[in-house]
Symmetry: C2
Subunit: 284 residues, 2 copies
């Protein structure tokens, strides 16, 4: 652990129900990125939006043909690994388990469960209040309709996009398909506000269907705010009156500046954003 750098060091780790941080090099997560993950906000000692995370994990496991562990077992392990932690982050990784050489999934395969907790970043919450600065990324999103939407472990496109900048003042980068259509941020979903209506890209070719994205679509409908899932390009972003980003750890980030263009944050639909922020960080 002495050589570890980055924005967070895990507080506690549980692999297949046992404390520890080691796994076999033969695990298919190592060999092929053959697995799934969820990154879950902890608030008041509970995982927020647990059911949405489990729903996405179940969908991902179906798509990859990985046997899904009992969600009650995952909940029990989540309770154990987060015990005594009030706020923070729970990362849950499922892999197809260990296998021999070659792409063919082992049969039977024994799904491996890895749970890690992290503290929240020191400046957590500040960007919700102040808004964030965002850039455009050059790295294109990987396009594969079969893998689109699920939170699998093949994340080199986001890694390379996130490596494009080092300026800590820039919070996020927007990613496009090589064809020019917006897909999302490196770690967020994107909503454009045109003054009357929300617009967000479909995730049928690439990107991740965020839990807070789902929540946004539901809350908008409940508040009578139209939300159109539609293909968007740079021109659509240039015409936006406002923009916000969602993910399960941050909840919502209003965008203050995109690639040099400043936005008036008061134009955003704050009734929705306020509800979204508290809903995203509520246990249940």
């Amino acid at each position: 652990m002495a050589t570890l750098h980055g924005i967070g060091i895990p507080s506690r780790m549980l692999i297949d129900g046992l404390p520890g941080d080691q796994l076999s090099v033969l695990d298919r997560a190592v060999q092929y990125g053959d697995g799934l993950f969820e990154t879950i906000r902890l608030a008041a000692g509970y995982p927020c939006q647990w059911q949405r995370h489990m729903d996405r994990l179940i969908l991902g496991a179906e798509r990859l043909g990985i046997e899904m562990p009992d969600t009650a077992l995952l909940a029990a392990e989540a309770a154990e690994v987060t015990w005594g932690q009030h706020d923070g982050i729970l990362k849950l990784i499922l892999s197809r388990g260990e296998g021999g050489r070659g792409y063919a999934p082992p049969s039977p395969a024994i799904t491996r469960r890895m749970l890690l907790t992290y503290p929240l970043a020191a400046n957590h919450g500040q960007q919700w209040r102040d808004g964030v600065t965002v850039r455009y990324c050059q790295t294109p999103v990987s396009i594969n309709p079969v893998l689109a939407g699920i939170k699998h472990l093949n994340r080199l496109d986001s890694v390379l996009a996130r490596a494009e900048w080092h300026d800590p003042a820039i919070a996020e980068g927007l990613m496009f398909a090589a064809t020019g259509e917006l897909v999302g941020g490196t770690m967020t979903n994107v909503f454009v506000w045109d003054g009357r209506c929300l617009l967000t890209p479909p995730l049928d070719r690439g990107g991740i269907a965020g839990t807070v994205r789902g929540l946004t679509l539901e809350l908008a409908a409940r508040l009578g705010i139209d939300c159109l899932v539609t293909r968007l390009d740079r021109a659509a972003l240039d015409q936006a009156r406002g923009l916000f980003l969602t993910n399960s750890i941050i909840g919502v980030w209003p965008v203050r500046e995109l690639s040099g263009r400043r936005f008036d944050l008061t134009h955003l639909p704050w009734t929705l954003l306020d509800r979204l922020y508290s809903a995203a960080c509520t246990a249940g």
Copy 2:
């Protein structure tokens, strides 16, 4: 190891120069598939086409921004882990090493080296003599121009394609982009023979630039056989007089049957194939 299934169990493993098979769950290969690999044929106690494998690894490391270890160190570790093994397979995995939470590469990052050896499959060589049966896969290849060609660890497209069949009589499946163009097999590169000329797909959007693919292009040029790198679709495959597949472990597989259509193997350019097979399995 008792629960391990699949086509091969490693004979020996070396992680960062030390015997062992465990690594941290915080390794970015586990978290994001953030790394590269090479699968190298051992013959007469030596790794075949070592320089081609190193060249591809160097290119991949540049593309991902991963610090490349000294190839002399990798050669020394390869010699250590394969010591006393006459024939077999050496798998070499490089990851970006351990990191904190989030896609941003850790700085500094300490590249992790993982070397594993495997025995050859029991029926190795038989398919070179008899030819193989091949099918079409439904799973599309992941498309990303920035990741195309290199042998990175984001391999879920090949995993899902390989999971489409269980019939051991089928040796390989051909994969296409969602747009319909042929990219390659799940673990091979594809060459079409039209009777006068070789055709093989470009790898500018997806797929892996195989070491034996490179060797094929060079040997064909030396033998005066035209080889066209060009986009191919199902129709082009339907018009093929013959077909062969290449990879670093098998060398060459002539295709006897593709999705029910049988080929006369005598139509293939055997001068090339014979040289290719021995060159692919030669130390150097």
